[in-house]
C-alpha cells in the first residue's frame, strides 16, 4: 500500500491545506486585478501570493534551519510548503530512503536574463530541485518533472512508482510555479486568459486565470497519522497524439489515462464517488473533460474545479488540487465550483454548484495540458 501521509498548500488564501481549503469551501478567490507593468503592460486578473506575508513566514522557517542564504520567491514558497508538510509526519527528509520529487513548468524563469543576483544555472529546473534538496539536507538526486500542466499529477504517480518498486520508503512530492512576465505574456499571446476570474464549465467561460502556489504531498509505504487511511490506488498518463496546443475533441488521452488508472486501482467507473477535474475554464479544455467523463459513463458523478479560487497554478496545480481532494475525503465533503453558474459543456456532467456532505471512498483526479498530455490518479479510503 502507498499511503498519503501529509500535505500542504501555500496559496494566496493561506499557507496550509486547512486554511486554503476552508476559504475555497466558502467560495473565496485569490484572483484579483493585478497592476504591475513588470508582469504585463496592461492590468490582468491573477491569483498572487502576498510578498510581505511570504517573507514573514519564510524568515521563521529559515531561522529554524539556521539558513542565511538568499532564495527566490518560488524557492521560499516551496521551502515553506515542504517544511509545513514535514511537521505533520515523522518522515525523515535527511534519510537516503526519502526522495524528493519536484514538479514545475517554468521554475525560476523570472531569472532569465537576470545575471546580477544569482549564478547563471539558478534558472535551470534541476538546480531548483537541488536548492530545495540542499535546504532540507536530503542526500538524493532530486527527481524533477516538467510536463506542462500534468506535471503535478505525474509527480504523484511517479512517487507511487518509486515507493512500490521499493526504491524509497517515503517520497516528498512538491511543486510550484509563479506568475511571471514570461508566462503571462505567453498565455496572453494565445488569447487564453479570461478578463475576469475564470468560470470552469460555465456557459460564459472565456479562458483561464493564472495563479501562483506551491504545494507538497508526502507519500510512504507505511500509514501516517490520517485515519481512516487514504491510499494511492492507481495512476496513469496518456497522450492525445492529436495536437500540441489543443486538447483532443474526443477526450482520447484523458479517457485512456482514466481507464488505466481505474485498471490499476481495480475499480470501475461506477465506484468513483467524486471527480476533481482540471477545469481550466478554457472553452476547449472543459468541453474535452466533459467528453472523457461521459465516455466513462460518469456524468452522474459530482465533479468540481477549484481554478476559480486559486487560478491555474501550472506545475503546482495537480498537487494543490490533490491536497484539496484529500481534504474533501477526510471531511467527507464536496466543494462547489466557484464561477460555475450556467452549464456550459455539451455533456450533462454533474458540476457541483453547492457544497454538500458525501461519504467519499474512491475519488478521481484529472489533469490535461499542452503537448497533448493527460493524466489521471485515484485516491481510495481504506474503510475498515
Amino acid at each position: 500500500m502507498i499511503y498519503f501521509k501529509s500535505d500542504n498548500i501555500v496559496s494566496p488564501l493561506g499557507f496550509s491545506t486547512k486554511e486554503t481549503t476552508d476559504l475555497v469551501l466558502v467560495g473565496e478567490t485569490g484572483i484579483k486585478e493585478i497592476f504591475d507593468k513588470d508582469l504585463y503592460p496592461e492590468p490582468f486578473p491573477a491569483s498572487m501570493i502576498d510578498e510581505e506575508k511570504l517573507e514573514t513566514e519564510f524568515i521563521k522557517v529559515a531561522t529554524r534551519y539556521s539558513s542565511t542564504k538568499k532564495f527566490t520567491k518560488l524557492e521560499k514558497m516551496l521551502i515553506i510548503s515542504v517544511d509545513d508538510a514535514l511537521s505533520a509526519t515523522d518522515v525523515d527528509i535527511t534519510s537516503k530512503r526519502t526522495a524528493i520529487i519536484l514538479s514545475t513548468t517554468k521554475g525560476n524563469i523570472d531569472l532569465l536574463g537576470n545575471v546580477y543576483d544569482y549564478d547563471k544555472d539558478r534558472v535551470s529546473l534541476w538546480k531548483l530541485g537541488e536548492v530545495i534538496a540542499s535546504f532540507f539536507s536530503n542526500p538524493n538526486t532530486p527527481v524533477v518533472i516538467s510536463n506542462a500542466c500534468i506535471s503535478g499529477v505525474l509527480a504523484i504517480n511517479t512517487a507511487a512508482m518509486l515507493i512500490d518498486s521499493q526504491q524509497y520508503d517515503d517520497v516528498v512530492v512538491t511543486g510550484g510555479d509563479i506568475v511571471s512576465r514570461f508566462v503571462v505574456s505567453g498565455f496572453m499571446s494565445f488569447l487564453s486568459l479570461s478578463t475576469k476570474p475564470c468560470k470552469p464549465f460555465d456557459a460564459n467561460r472565456d479562458g483561464l486565470s493564472l495563479g501562483e502556489a506551491a504545494a507538497t504531498i508526502i507519500m510512504g509505504n507505511k500509514p501516517g497519522n490520517i485515519s481512516p487511511s487514504l491510499v494511492f490506488a492507481g495512476g496513469s498518463s496518456a497522450n492525445d497524439a492529436n495536437h500540441i496546443s489543443g486538447p483532443s475533441r474526443t477526450g482520447e488521452g484523458s479517457y485512456i489515462a482514466i481507464q488505466k488508472a481505474m485498471d490499476e486501482a481495480k475499480i470501475n467507473a461506477k465506484m468513483i464517488d467524486h471527480i476533481s477535474a482540471h477545469g481550466t475554464a478554457t472553452p476547449y479544455n472543459d468541453e474535452m473533460e466533459s467528453i472523457a467523463i461521459d465516455r466513462h459513463g460518469m456524468t452522474h458523478v459530482p465533479v468540481n474545479s477549484i481554478k476559480g479560487n486559486l487560478g491555474h497554478t501550472l506545475g503546482a496545480a495537480g498537487i494543490v488540487e490533490s491536497a484539496i481532494l484529500l481534504e474533501e475525503m477526510k471531511r467527507n465533503i464536496l466543494i462547489d465550483t466557484t464561477g460555475y453558474i450556467e452549464h456550459g459543456v455539451s455533456k450533462p456532467i454533474a458540476v457541483i454548484k453547492e457544497s454538500a456532505k458525501k461519504e467519499l471512498v474512491n475519488c478521481l483526479k484529472m489533469a490535461s495540458g499542452f503537448g497533448g498530455s493527460n493524466a489521471a490518479m485515484i485516491i481510495s479510503k481504506i474503510v475498515e
Binding site: K37, P41, T105, K106, I109, L112, G113, V123, S124, L125, W126, K127, G129, E130, T141, V143, V144, I145, S146, N147, A148, I150, L154, T158, M161, D164, S165, Q167, R181, F182, S185, G186, F187, M188, S189, F190, S236, S237, A238, N239, D240, A241, N242, H243, I244, S245, E252, G253, I256, K260, D263, E264, G369, F370, G371, G372, S373
Partner: protein, 209 residues
C-alpha cells in the same frame, strides 16, 4: 530493480554532426556548425515529408529526427497505441526557446510575444510531436536532471512495464543549450538481446562517437 523482461531493441544518436543507429554511422554532415544546420541536413537525408517539422523549435526538431531514425524499422503498429510510452529527459529543459520568447517581451514598447514560440517553451512538447507523428498514446513523462541519468528513465520504464501500463517505450535524452546539442533515444521492448538496465543504457550512452 529488475528489467522484468524488457530489452533494448534499438538505439539512435544525433551527436557531433553524426546520426548513428545501433552503432552504425548512417549520416554525417561534418560542415554543420549549429543544431539548425544539422537538423536541416538530416531532414533532407531521411526525407520524412512532414510539413509540421518546419513549425517546430530546434530542440523539438532534434527529438523528432532522432525518433524518426530510431522508429523507421520498428513495427510500432504491432502494439496497441496506448501501450507505447515515451519517457524523456534532459538538463536544460527548453532554455534556448525560452530565451527566444523572453527576447520578444523584454521591452514594453517593443512587445510581441508569439503563441507559436511560447507553446514550445515546455520540454514535453517534443513528446507531443513524436506522439502525433507515430500515433502513440501511451504514458508520457519528461524528467529534468543535471546530467544524463539512466536510473530514472530505465527504472520508470521498467515499472510501467511491470504494472502493465506499457508494453514498449521510447526512452532517452534530448538536450540543447548554448554549449551544444545531444540526442540519444532508444526503443525498449520484449524484442532484442540486451537487457534494459541502467548499466546497459549507460554503456551505450557513454560510447564515444
Amino acid at each position: 530493480m529488475t528489467s522484468g523482461g524488457l530489452k533494448i531493441e534499438s538505439y539512435c544518436f544525433i551527436r557531433n554532426n553524426k546520426v548513428i543507429l545501433n552503432g552504425e554511422l548512417i549520416f554525417e554532415d561534418a560542415d554543420a556548425v549549429s543544431l539548425k544546420q544539422i537538423a536541416k541536413s538530416v531532414y533532407r537525408s531521411i526525407k520524412p515529408s512532414y510539413a509540421k517539422f518546419f513549425k517546430m523549435d530546434d530542440i523539438s526538431k532534434l527529438g523528432f529526427l532522432t525518433a524518426e531514425v530510431l522508429l523507421k524499422d520498428i513495427d510500432t503498429e504491432s502494439y496497441d497505441y496506448e501501450d507505447v510510452a515515451i519517457i524523456l529527459s534532459n538538463s536544460d529543459s527548453t532554455l534556448i526557446t525560452d530565451s527566444n520568447h523572453q527576447s520578444t517581451i523584454n521591452d514594453n514598447d517593443n512587445f510581441f510575444p508569439s503563441p507559436s514560440v511560447f507553446v514550445y517553451t515546455l520540454p514535453n512538447i517534443m513528446i507531443g510531436e513524436i506522439s502525433i507523428r507515430h500515433a502513440l498514446k501511451g504514458e508520457n513523462s519528461f524528467f529534468i536532471v543535471e546530467n544524463f541519468n539512466a536510473d530514472i528513465i530505465v527504472n520508470h520504464i521498467n515499472k510501467l512495464f511491470l504494472t502493465n501500463k506499457a508494453k514498449a517505450a521510447v526512452g532517452g535524452w534530448v538536450n540543447y543549450s548554448e554549449s551544444g546539442y545531444d540526442a540519444f533515444l532508444y526503443f525498449a521492448s520484449p524484442q532484442g538481446e540486451t537487457s534494459h538496465t541502467p548499466v546497459e543504457i549507460n554503456k551505450i550512452y557513454n560510447k564515444s562517437l
